[in-house]
Amino acid sequence: MSNIPAELSYTAEHEWVASTEQDGVVRVGITDFAQDALGDVVYAQVPELGSSITANDVVGEVESTKSVSDIYAPVSGEIVARNEGLDGDPALINSDPYGEGWLFEIRLSDAGQLSGLLNAEAYGQQVG
């Protein structure tokens, strides 16, 4: 049974979205379900700082020994942080998908976008 924290928002593409201390900035990662399905992550490609991304576009990829999975932008906005720790230790995505294994942070182009995401219950039904 995979871990689905109640306080986060989710996408159908198995990404989570969390609010941060900064207004209008969200942090994004892949879910516990996704990391388990992928297997041991050996490489994560995340978008460059400052790049503009559009919701539902492919903006990166997570590669494991077994397979590779696209990362979709859960919302539109500008990349204001990327997890540099993944360059040295991509396995953080496996060991701590909701913590140290985060991918990037987005400054939302429109704060209303978050209402379009799934809550934990809805996401849980999808992967259950």
């Binding site: 590669e63 020994t65 077994k66 396995a91």
Partner: protein, 374 residues
Amino acid sequence: MTEKYTALYAEHEKLGASFTDFGGWQMPLKYGSELAEHHAVRKTAGLFDLSHMGEVWVEGPGAGAFLDYALVGKLSAVVEGKAKYSLICAEDGGIIDDLIVYRRGEEKFLVVPNAGNAVVVAGELAARAEGFDVTVTDASAETSLIAVQGPNAQTILLTLVPEDEHAAVTELKYYASVEVTINGDKLLLARTGYTGEDGFEIFVDNASAAALWQALMAAGEGHELVPAGLACRDSLRLEAGMPLYGNELSREGTPFAAGLGPVVALKSKDGDFVGRASLEAAKESGDGATAGRRLVGLKGLGRRAGRSHYTVMKDGVVVGEVTSGQPSPTLGFPVALAYVDVAYTEPGTALDIDLRGKAEPFEVVALPFYKRER
């Protein structure tokens, strides 16, 4: 198709395995981290359930001559106690399966086909046996197969073998087999594997399989033995440059294109064998040498890996297709096996793999990617 379960399924469940379908069997994919299992086999030891593999016994005065006819190799020349890698081909030269043949006596051979092909191979062998003085017995359903692979494999195994039989194990050569007492039972032990490491495969009746598995797990304590699933088996065999039926080998491909020309005994066998005429014609046409495509190893110069069915390109033109590929856990760079037009098979040739729209640089390298130090 009904799912099939090996006699060790409950053991895997107890160990928390994630399962995957392989050739109709529910097999352990991994127990924890497939990377950790991979590294354990390279550095210490891994324990595999290979009970999905087939076991077909060929016995009788005509056994050697029959296998020379049914398979592409010269099995009659295999010395008692030794084993040989071979192929069973169709009349048109297409590969039905790759298999290992163990000679267990003057008139007794054990043929081990792949899980997904075991029924077909057993059926083909039975059909081809007409006119030969042999009996073909498919013992796949009653036989389990457990492999211990890795540098510590011998040390672990010896703890379950009586001291007066230790020499039979320590002196056992690669691609050879012997009957020894393991965990109290007289069992067939082979020094074979699919990992590129030293290691053993043990054939055991289903009824004794769980006890042997548990004994091996216990014997492995202190020797860093871990249960290992099919995910790491695939990455291990790929690093070792070994083909996987269904990826590198198929009915559509010939042994020559797969780089397995030396396995086909066109010269050393005088008599006819199934597929001979087609294979002679394929060899004459230069298949895999001067014509068509040949299987090569590709080393990634970046970090992104090529995967099965991805396109291989030279200067934007399609010249091949990947059959297996992933990041190599041991080597730290992406590796792939690919069929490539013969003009581009020389080691050092720069090629690209189309990775979802972007050309990523790879280089043709000699196989295997990984070879253990002896």
